[in-house]
């Protein structure tokens, strides 16, 4: 028998095995890396920061980023009330991380339309599952300077889902720590004078909002760039400044109360949210695993069929022919079992739907509650602020003898004080 004929089935088999090995290697690349994620540590202060350089941070409740179209919600597995809850929960996590570093003054979670802090952090949830978190974060300071604007993403640290002694507080601690470190890096780029001025501008913007006729002249606003520059500081002996300081203390009291509401809210959903993320992580992993297996089986099955057919066409012996037939049959079976796994994938999809729906039902009442309470609080505070605006106006007119409106229009550089 010529050597070429005797080697033919083995050559076909080797070729098939090589293709199969390459396929396994290629599909293996898709396998999720389950090694523990190295922790990112939020850098902590090692020296005391001078009081006038301590900047207050307002972390606004995030944009929940829920598509209006229900089909899109379903396709993206977004549960609107879950996202609404997350849009309040995640800022609390970021706040806690920032607070823990000791680099900042007061760090508070605030409604999205509050902008009276020295540094304001806004976020948008791009993706949030038990496996992955993606956020778009933008931070600006009171002068209008943009500190950072970028996307952050991270895989869940699965230790958070396990009943172990030492585990992260949140599966996405790394994301929050990375944001905290970036905010710190942005702050460190500022000079001492710039940091001090950020705080002063924040104070004056608050003052100018309540009493524009008296405080606008102290700030120069570049409307095109959206920035504010300090012109000069008002006298601390000014009677309007004194009263305004007392109003500001009430504003701090209001934002502290709102912040407490958000803390309370996050604590009340913490357990249920943790469980939801844990179980949805398991289902998502199982679904991804099933998808990988299905793909592998289908690809290997197809390769075996092709290899078997090729081997069969070249085989001249009965053994070679039998091997090629076996390869074709095995390939068909593997391909079919890959297709059959679609049922398993679908089952995991349904489980995820059920989990999301169930958690949504659980969290919805507390979302409605927090929305209602913060709105009510802000609403009644607004009425009070309107009264204080009026009193400040009357005081200003009494002290300067100038009509407040005229002073605003003229934007006089230095209002006369008694």
């Amino acid at each position: 028998m010529p050597p070429t004929e005797s080697r033919s089935p083995w050559r076909a088999l080797r070729a098939g095995l090589l293709v199969a090995a390459l396929t396994v290697a290629a599909t293996g690349c898709v396998v999720q890396d389950q090694r523990p994620i190295p922790p990112v540590v939020a850098k902590k202060a090692t020296t005391e920061i001078p009081q006038d350089e301590l900047l207050d941070v307002g972390v606004h409740i995030f944009d929940a980023n829920v598509p209006e179209d229900e089909k899109e919600q379903e396709a993206k597995r977004i549960f609107p009330d879950v996202r609404k809850a997350e849009s309040r929960y995640m800022p609390v996590m970021l706040r806690d991380t920032l607070e823990g570093t000791g680099h900042w003054g007061q760090v508070r979670v605030l409604p999205s339309d509050s902008a009276s802090s020295d540094v304001n952090v806004d976020g948008r949830i791009l993706e949030s599952t038990g496996r992955e978190l993606r956020l778009a974060i933008r931070a600006t300071d009171a002068t209008g300077r943009v500190w950072l604007e970028k996307e952050y993403e991270g895989q869940a640290d699965v230790r958070a889902y396990k009943d172990v002694a030492v585990r992260p507080r949140d599966p996405f601690d790394n994301v929050y720590a990375t944001i905290a470190n970036d905010l710190l890096a942005a702050r460190e780029q500022l000079s001492r004078d710039e940091r001090v001025q950020v705080h002063q501008v924040a104070q004056l913007r608050f003052a100018a909002d309540l009493a524009p006729y008296a405080f606008k002249p102290y700030l120069d606003r570049d409307k095109r760039r959206g920035t504010y520059t300090l012109v000069r500081l008002p006298s601390q002996d000014d009677p309007v400044v004194e009263r305004l300081d007392r109003v500001r203390e009430r504003d701090y009291s209001l934002v502290d109360t709102l912040n407490e509401h958000y803390t309370n809210f996050s604590e009340s959903m913490d357990d249920a949210y943790g469980n939801w993320r844990k179980y949805s992580h398991e289902e998502l992993e199982a679904e991804a695993d099933a998808r990988r297996k299905a793909l592998t089986r289908q690809v290997l099955g197809a390769v075996a069929v092709v290899g078997g057919v090729l081997a069969g066409s070249e085989a001249n012996s009965s053994a070679g022919s039998a091997a090629s037939t076996a390869a074709v049959l095995g390939g068909i079976y593997a391909f079919k079992s890959g297709l059959d796994m679609r049922a398993e994938i679908k089952m995991h999809g349904e489980s995820l739907k059920q989990l999301g729906s169930s958690f949504q039902n659980e969290v919805q009442p507390i979302v409605v509650d927090i929305e209602g309470r913060t709105l009510e609080l802000k609403g009644s505070a607004e009425q009070q602020y309107a009264e204080w605006r009026q009193l400040l106006r009357e005081l200003y007119e009494n002290e300067t003898g100038l009509p407040a409106t005229a002073a605003t229009e003229a934007a006089t550089p230095a209002p006369r004080r008694r």
Partner: protein, 177 residues
């Protein structure tokens, strides 16, 4: 009416509105505190039924270690941002947790007023503000964050919040060692 009279009139209106606002905020914060305490209580009850033996052991220890040392806070003052609300006298209630014996007559401060002197004596002890649980080290090697946590815990009058602060302190110290 002279400008001084007019100023006095405006100030009185400021004071009235501030008082109303402060009362509203105080009430709101009390409600939040109660909700948090209620939740912690129910969580504690669940924990108690789940770990009988451990809880009994810890409780016994707490009864002997609950002690009220004077707060020795130093360094920076807490950055109080609360309203000027005049503090009301603390009610000096007895701790409602096992082993708790509150030290009363604390002077409330800040916008929340009152609430001082609520007894501690949770599983890890500590009565009233300034009480240091027995498992807390002396703090000589504290860094700035640990020091802030320690000071906040020592100043805290709410036993639940105080215990949470000590927990944060323990966790932080564990993480830095």
């Amino acid at each position: 009416m002279t400008p001084e009279d007019r100023r006095g009139q405006i100030d009185r209106r400021f004071d009235e509105t501030f008082a109303v606002f402060d009362a509203r905020m105080r009430k709101e914060q009390e409600t939040i505190s109660q909700e948090r305490a209620g939740r912690a209580g129910s969580a504690g009850a669940v924990g108690g039924t789940e770990g009988d033996e451990q809880a009994a052991g810890a409780g016994g220890e707490a009864a002997t270690t609950g002690q009220g040392e004077d707060g020795a806070g130093s360094g920076t003052e807490g950055e109080g941002t609360g309203a000027e609300g005049e503090g009301e006298d603390g009610e000096g209630g007895a701790g409602n947790e096992p082993g708790g014996a509150g030290a009363g007559d604390q002077q409330g401060s800040g916008q929340q007023g009152g609430g001082g002197g609520v007894g501690g004596g949770g599983p890890k002890g500590g009565g009233g503000p300034g009480g240091i649980p027995s498992d807390i080290p002396d703090g000589r090697d504290d860094d700035i964050v640990a020091r802030q946590l320690r000071e906040a815990a020592m100043k805290e009058t709410d036993p639940e919040l105080r215990e949470r602060l000590w927990d944060e302190y323990r966790k932080y110290k564990q993480g830095t060692q």
